[in-house]
Subunit: 309 residues, 2 copies
């Protein structure tokens, strides 16, 4: 059985940055993950990651990954099923029953895209229903699409889709958006976008592919002829399997302090999976760095990080 100093679960901005930091401390580090780059991969362009005026999400994540690899992080593709606490350290068990021993763990596996849970959504997923505009927008040249949601990712998805589609419905259940003001203003000026506020999704219909999308509100119901439905309503946490190990909030976020420590000594958490509420690359990166350095301190038995005191 392989023995690690640190096992990081998840390879988004938080996990990859944690690895940069643990590897630079010469800790034997593995990242166990289902994919590389996390939610940032789904971002068309980022203009608020300090240091880059404008960079596509996948390009930024590729830089993160190369840095982590350069310093020696091992990548293990797979899904963690179980973490067992031992007298000293932990055993991590994967779905394929491989196991790894480790002194510390950093939980950084983020969130997964939330679904609408309406009829037709699953049937047409991947055949017109998508949670990733960045991935799928180019398939909708001269088509009509609907975007569901009211946050930054929904508005950014709508904006991106105008570059391909001939018409974009932007549908939100509330009477105002929750995105950046600059983004809202930009969206409102775009002629291809029709904004529909106070509407709820009802059903996706079609034959082989999506053909229509029904929405409703308290008084009314209507069916839009669309070729695609982009679901941009946030993310959900898969942390149930951890609840005997670390404290979670009611909504499933892992509780951390300002130093990324969980309620379990030796287990740290960083990024979207934690009580830090913002889904931002630079925040996840910063949190990952903290978790990495706290792991090092934990292994060394240190309680202070400041020299000459």
């Amino acid at each position: 059985m392989e023995n690690y100093d640190v096992i990081i679960i998840g390879a988004g901005a938080a996990g990859l940055t944690a690895a940069i930091y643990t590897c630079r401390k010469k800790l034997k580090t593995a990242i166990i993950t289902l994919d590389i780059g996390g939610q940032t991969m789904l971002t068309n362009h980022i203009e608020n990651y300090p240091g880059f005026d404008l960079i596509p999400g996948p390009e930024l994540m590729s830089k993160f990954e190369q840095q982590a690899s350069k310093f020696g992080a091992e990548m293990i593709m797979g899904e963690v099923e179980l973490i067992k606490k031992k007298k000293i350290g932990f055993t991590v068990e994967l779905k394929n029953k491989e196991t790894y021993d480790t002194k510390t763990i950093i939980l950084a596996f983020g969130k997964t895209a939330r679904r609408m849970n309406i009829p037709g959504e699953d049937k047409f997923f991947g055949r017109g229903v998508s949670t990733c505009a960045t991935c799928d927008a180019p398939f909708y040249k001269e088509k009509t699409v609907a975007v569901i949601g009211g946050g930054n990712s929904a508005l950014e998805a709508a904006e991106l889709l105008t570059q391909f589609a001939k018409k974009v419905y932007l549908i939100h259940r509330r009477n105002e958006f929750r995105a950046d003001e600059v983004t809202i203003e930009k969206i409102k000026k775009m002629k291809k976008i029709e904004i529909l506020l106070n509407w709820l999704p009802e059903e996706v219909k079609g034959d082989k592919f999506v053909e229509s999308f029904t929405i409703k509100n308290a008084k009314d119901e209507k069916t839009l002829k669309v070729d695609g439905v982009f679901v941009e309503i946030g993310y959900e946490l898969k942390t149930d399997w951890l609840k005997s190990l670390v404290n979670l909030t009611d909504s499933g976020e892992i509780k951390i302090d300002e130093r990324c420590r969980t309620s379990q000594a030796g287990i740290f958490a960083a990024g979207d999976v934690t009580t830090v509420p913002f889904k931002q690359t630079v925040i996840s990166a910063g949190e990952g760095a903290k978790a990495g350095l706290e792991s090092y301190k934990y292994i060394k038995g240190d309680t202070t990080a400041i020299d000459w005191k």
Copy 2:
């Protein structure tokens, strides 16, 4: 009197990133600061800021500043003397008696370099004694210098100085360094560097400029002929003036939670000035982003940041 939504005190990685985020939320934002770029300016090269393989600190900070300016952050050069709590919001008073009203405040003014507090240090400060190797190393071509300290910045200073000086003493009060293992190994191989462990600084002597540096331990004392003394023993906090406003630790750090909230509603803190123990650009940037987004939430009266819930 000018009215702001957010006043950020300090323009290092934390303050500049906070400004990027508040400005993108269309909040009227001013940064009050004594200098731009903070401690990152003193870093010769950074290889652990995710996204850049290797970048000089000043170049990275210049990118941060340009991004903050692009989105509309106002820069006010000056030192804050006083923060007064009003019924709603705060008044910030500068040393020059200018005042500004603001709804929220982000404290991000970092730490200042710690001194040795030994005879001769003040007298020769700027005349051989320095706290910034990046700034002053080029003045020591073919000279002999001493570096005091055992953390990353001390070792990095020593490494940088080998490019100019003919000999570098690296002096640390403990019997081992507290820097990254990779950096320690690199330093140990450098022939120009002589490592002196378990020695304390005693006195700096000279005429117009530094000529010698006396160090001591329990048994012994010796005087090194040097032309420069680089003090790299960490940083100290100047937060005494805030203690009636926000909770501080015994060592003066501003206590924050994982969302950068202080004990005072409407006042947030980010970066080196807080209980987050690590002096790292990416961590300060992440903390600044959080503080910026929390300010926005506070102003909007929001308690949740997740859409569609």
